[in-house]
């Protein structure tokens, strides 16, 4: 009886109301942090000497890029948990995170393009980081497509978990090969995420928005996992009885 304390929360019936109580807090936290971060980033932080005000895109670009990678890692973590312990909830969390991860990847790519155009005159540069980010998007899309194609939830969970893990194992290989390809083909090119010598307001703003993005991802994942649980366990007795089931 020493283990169940934590494993208790792996039961959808226990986690469902917990997630319901938690997500509004994370949503509020996300909104507050985002407002504080953008206030400092857009209104307080000084104009950069080299890039002018175009650099202010960094306050969403870098947090989005970080979150896109973090979410994939967390997904792979849940994938491992679901395959090792065969917990349904881990797989549901993995599923709940994927669309948000893909969204942050798109945001990172889009803001990268809008930053690249004024900074070095091209919407898209085959820079190692941009290219890796693009491949990360493809990994997300493959995962989502596979999950969507499988009707049986149990099989979808296990197949998705395997694909997420295989992808995570391959990410370092892909990143290494893309970096190598980039150095061979372009020589030392501009590095996109190298911040212009950052004033500390800039760093504060960037970190605030990063935590905002993190809270947003947590809130959305908790909300979505509740929907997934409802989709799947509509017939379960606990869902029928609890008024929380709504």
């Amino acid at each position: 009886m020493s283990r169940p304390s934590l494993f208790r929360y792996a039961s959808p019936a226990v986690f469902y109301p917990l997630a319901g109580r938690l997500w509004p807090w994370f949503a509020v936290l996300a909104a507050g942090l985002a407002m504080a971060g953008l206030w400092i980033g857009l209104l307080v932080a000084p104009t950069d000497a080299q890039q002018g005000d175009a650099y202010r895109i960094i306050f969403i670009h870098v947090p989005a890029a970080w979150m896109s990678m973090l979410i994939y890692l967390v997904m792979a973590g849940y994938a491992a948990l679901s395959l090792i312990f065969n917990t349904r909830l881990s797989a549901m969390m993995m599923r709940a995170l994927a669309p948000t991860g893909a969204l942050f990847t798109v945001v990172a790519l889009w803001t990268g393009a809008l930053w690249g155009r004024p900074t070095w005159g091209a919407w898209w540069v085959w820079d190692a980081r941009l290219t890796s980010e693009l491949i990360l998007l493809f990994l997300y899309l493959g995962f989502i497509a596979l999950q969507a194609a499988i009707d049986d939830p149990r099989r979808a969970d296990r197949a998705g978990a395997l694909v997420a893990l295989v992808g995570a194992v391959n990410v370092p290989i892909i990143y290494f090969s893309v970096t190598w390809w980039n150095t061979l083909h372009q020589g030392a090119s501009i590095s996109l995420t190298r911040a212009p010598t950052m004033a500390h307001e800039m760093i504060t703003a960037m970190l605030l928005v990063t935590f905002a993005a993190w809270s947003y991802a947590v809130a959305i994942a908790l909300f979505r996992v509740r929907l997934i649980i409802r989709d799947r366990e509509q017939q379960a007795a606990w869902m029928q009885e609890s008024s929380e089931g709504r």
């Binding site: 493809f138 194609a149 149990r154 295989v166």
Partner: protein
């Protein structure tokens, strides 16, 4: 005769009796590679520059073409179920099936590639590197695609799905394989590329059959 050899022989025999699968992939490869000059123009310098990449992408897609069906026939006639129940280790049998598929579909691509390379004006040493790279790289593509084939077993639209799931993972192979030919063309030597490709092949040979076996068990639960 060991069951693994028997399985390999059976798959090769089946492919021999139904040659169209192998020849379709080969035909696709040749046609795709020949379409590019028509699209970008017959400028010799340009063709030599894009040749390695075009041939590699063509080979990648052609290898992926037949793979989604890798386990489908076996599932339809119940052989797969026997394999899952058999006392022999499933990863080893999976390995035999992938090997058979590569011999039927991958190897001919590697052998035809130099002819296409000539169309793009690649010199002899680059052609040799191209073949060496394809010989090391196409098995990796087969191994990775086998994971996808196993996971999508029996699903609607399985073929396209395999490509979407697996193609991002093929990026390193593509970079190293096409890069090897490029490096030769630029007089840099392709040894580093080919060594890394070989290292990848060894890692994937050791790891993938277990993953595919696991995926097969997921799909046929």
């Amino acid at each position: 005769m060991s069951p693994v050899i028997a399985l390999l022989r059976r798959d090769l025999l089946l492919a021999w009796r139904r040659k169209s699968d192998a020849t379709t992939a080969l035909g696709f490869f040749v046609i795709v590679a020949s379409l590019f000059p028509l699209a970008v123009g017959a400028d010799a310098t340009l063709l030599r520059a894009i040749g390695p990449g075009v041939i590699w992408v063509g080979a990648l897609l052609a290898t992926l073409l037949g793979l989604p069906r890798l386990f489908a026939a076996d599932q339809d006639d119940g052989t797969l179920e026997q394999m899952l129940l058999a006392p022999q280790a499933l990863p080893v049998m999976v390995m035999a099936k992938i090997a058979a598929h590569w011999i039927v579909c991958g190897l001919p691509l590697c052998l035809v590639a130099p002819v296409l390379g000539l169309q793009y004006g690649l010199p002899t040493d680059a052609l040799l590197v191209l073949v060496a790279g394809l010989l090391l790289g196409t098995p990796i593509v087969c191994l990775l695609a086998a994971i996808g084939a196993a996971l999508t077993l029996g699903l609607r639209g399985g073929g396209v799905l395999v490509s979407v799931v697996v193609l991002p993972l093929d990026v390193p192979v593509l970079i190293l394989g096409a890069g090897a030919v490029d490096a030769t063309l630029n007089g840099l030597g392709a040894q580093a590329h080919l060594s890394l490709l070989g290292a990848l092949l060894i890692v994937f040979l050791l790891a993938t059959p277990w993953v595919v076996a696991f995926a097969l068990r997921i799909a046929s639960d």
